[in-house]
């Protein structure tokens, strides 16, 4: 009897400690990534990184100014394309939904969210690069835009749903039409949540590499306009990391540090805002 009890207590203690160990490992990985990137990336980070073009192989120095601008342009295009569709779709699901059709839309959105980014890249390639016969910023922006849609839809929907019904009823009781209620009461009430959701959405696609490989491709120089291939930070990290030059590896670390700092800052701020407001959609 006592032996049995001792065994049970030992099992209890061992297993519970093991779960603690699992947690320690999982959260330790993040600190490791952060620390390593901070040490390696920040060490070689300098002003040139933000202001200079990449130098030819063998020549030291240079930066990734064109990739930073390229990434910004791609994200701008992506939001112009993805946010309106995603936002309006979310409004539909939250305010006019309720039918079998909206269930279908919701399910499709979730499935689109699960489509591997590289497959979205193929889609943008066949739709824009193939007919135009050249890589372009436009194609990369479209790929990222498609990736933004599902999260924009679902986060807009969730935050609109979180607005209390009494607010809507109040507006309608005052004689406002449904459209007016949505536009002047419901959306303003959910504004912060929706904006934060879109920031998170942007942060996610900012780090995407795979869909850009054969849409916006890459560029060693500035890319004026929207019709030429452009460099982007994540793609530069990839190219520089697998290249055999030590100098390029250093640049890859710097780029990685900048990208990660950007993505994590947005995430931390957004999550702090959201933790006061409700669920965090991903």
């Amino acid at each position: 009897m006592t032996l049995h009890l001792i065994r049970r207590k030992t099992v209890n203690w061992v297993m519970l400690s093991l779960t603690g160990l699992c947690t320690l490992i999982a959260s330790g990985i993040l600190f490791f990534i952060l620390g390593y990137l901070a040490i390696h990336g920040a060490a070689s980070l300098n002003w040139n990184f933000f202001t200079k073009l990449p130098t030819p192989v063998g020549e030291t120095g240079g930066g990734m100014a064109n990739a930073i601008v390229g990434s910004a342009k791609l994200l701008l295009l992506a939001s112009l394309f993805g946010v309106p569709i995603g936002f309006l779709g979310g409004v539909y699901l939250a305010e006019f939904g309720g039918s079998a059709f909206s269930f279908f839309v919701r399910y499709t959105t979730d499935l689109l969210n699960g489509v591997p980014s590289i497959v979205i890249g193929i889609f943008a390639y066949t739709v824009i690069v193939l007919p135009q016969k050249h890589f372009s910023t436009l194609a990369g922006g479209l790929a990222l835009g498609v990736m933004m849609i599902p999260i924009a839809v679902r986060s807009t929907e969730e935050f609109l749903r979180a607005v209390p019904t009494s607010l809507r009823e109040g507006a309608m009781a005052l004689g406002a039409s449904k459209a007016k209620t949505i536009l002047t009461v419901v959306i303003p009430a959910a504004k912060h949540g929706i904006l934060t959701g879109i920031m998170l959405d942007l942060a996610r696609v900012a780090g995407e590499t795979a869909p850009l490989l054969f849409t916006s491709f890459s560029n060693r120089f500035w890319s004026p306009g929207w019709e030429q291939p452009t460099a982007a930070l994540p793609v530069m990290i990839f190219t520089y990391a697998i290249a055999p030059y030590e100098d390029w590896h250093q640049q890859a670390w710097s780029a990685g540090f900048v990208l990660l700092a950007l993505v994590l800052t947005v995430n931390i701020i957004a999550r702090i805002i959201l933790s006061k407001k409700g669920p965090v959609p991903r």
Binding site: F96, V115, V119, G207, F238
Partner: protein, 325 residues
Amino acid sequence: MAATSTTVASAGPSRPAPSFVQRLRSGDQIAHLITFGAAVVVLLITAWLVFELYTNSVLSRNKFGWKFLFTSTWDPVAGEFGALPFIYGTTVTAALSLLLAIPLGVGAAIFLAELAPPRISDALTFLIELLAAVPSVIIGLLGVFVLIPILRTVEPSIRAVLGWTPLFQGPFYGVSVFSAGVVLAIMIVPFIISISREIILSVPGDQREAALALGATRWETTWDVVVPYARKGIMGSIFLALARALGETMAVTMVIGNDPKIKASLFAPGYSIAAVIANEFTEATGDLYTGALIELGLVLFGLTILINAVARLLVVSTTSQGSAR
């Protein structure tokens, strides 16, 4: 005005239908129409995506048929394309990553949901969810320059314990199916933790109290009562993680070795579907080559859609929150 529910369309069935112009004038119908249009666009884009993948892989599908999935020659020069090595690589790396990530993820989820004080649990979950936001190319960067050197040093001890199995034979160059599995595990663990934790948290408290009152230890309560109760949702989180592992591109491309051969050993380099598309798409010469790569994309699409669909049904059936992921 019927303002009882905001989700039900306003017009009742018994009222005479107003004319189209009348309905537009109210503004409600315009708002309905515009947002409805956006919802339809989401559906259209998804359908268009499938259509493009299907039509652009026609050359390869017509030439190889189902054989494409079961042959292992990948010879762009001779125009022979078989997807088996890539399907194998994708499957093995995903399976390996699940093998590593499930115990780690479920264990951590149990700790965070059952043992840790709420404030610590929330803080740690916050950190772990940040890990999910780290871009894949950065995980790949660390994989190449940090993880592979680490694996090189632990490789002899793995070999000493498991070297007798065919899985750990042959030389280890660093880039390998094994490294890809480890990198993937790091990437999917946050998903398993954060979803499983929420599902375990949603298990009613009286389940635990009943078990504890019967004299069960903390662990017995967790393992024999709480976890079985949350089983479906945990399975869902694992399926979601699997779908991600299958479609993950950059990190895998950087550490898997990119060698289209089927080898039993996990220490040998391999290749995955996503990696071959990433590496060869821009270099593909000729429509057949491109077609074969797009067909690989179609295969990957089908695989992830199938697993996602199952996962979402599983998670949705346990909590209403899961569908948002």
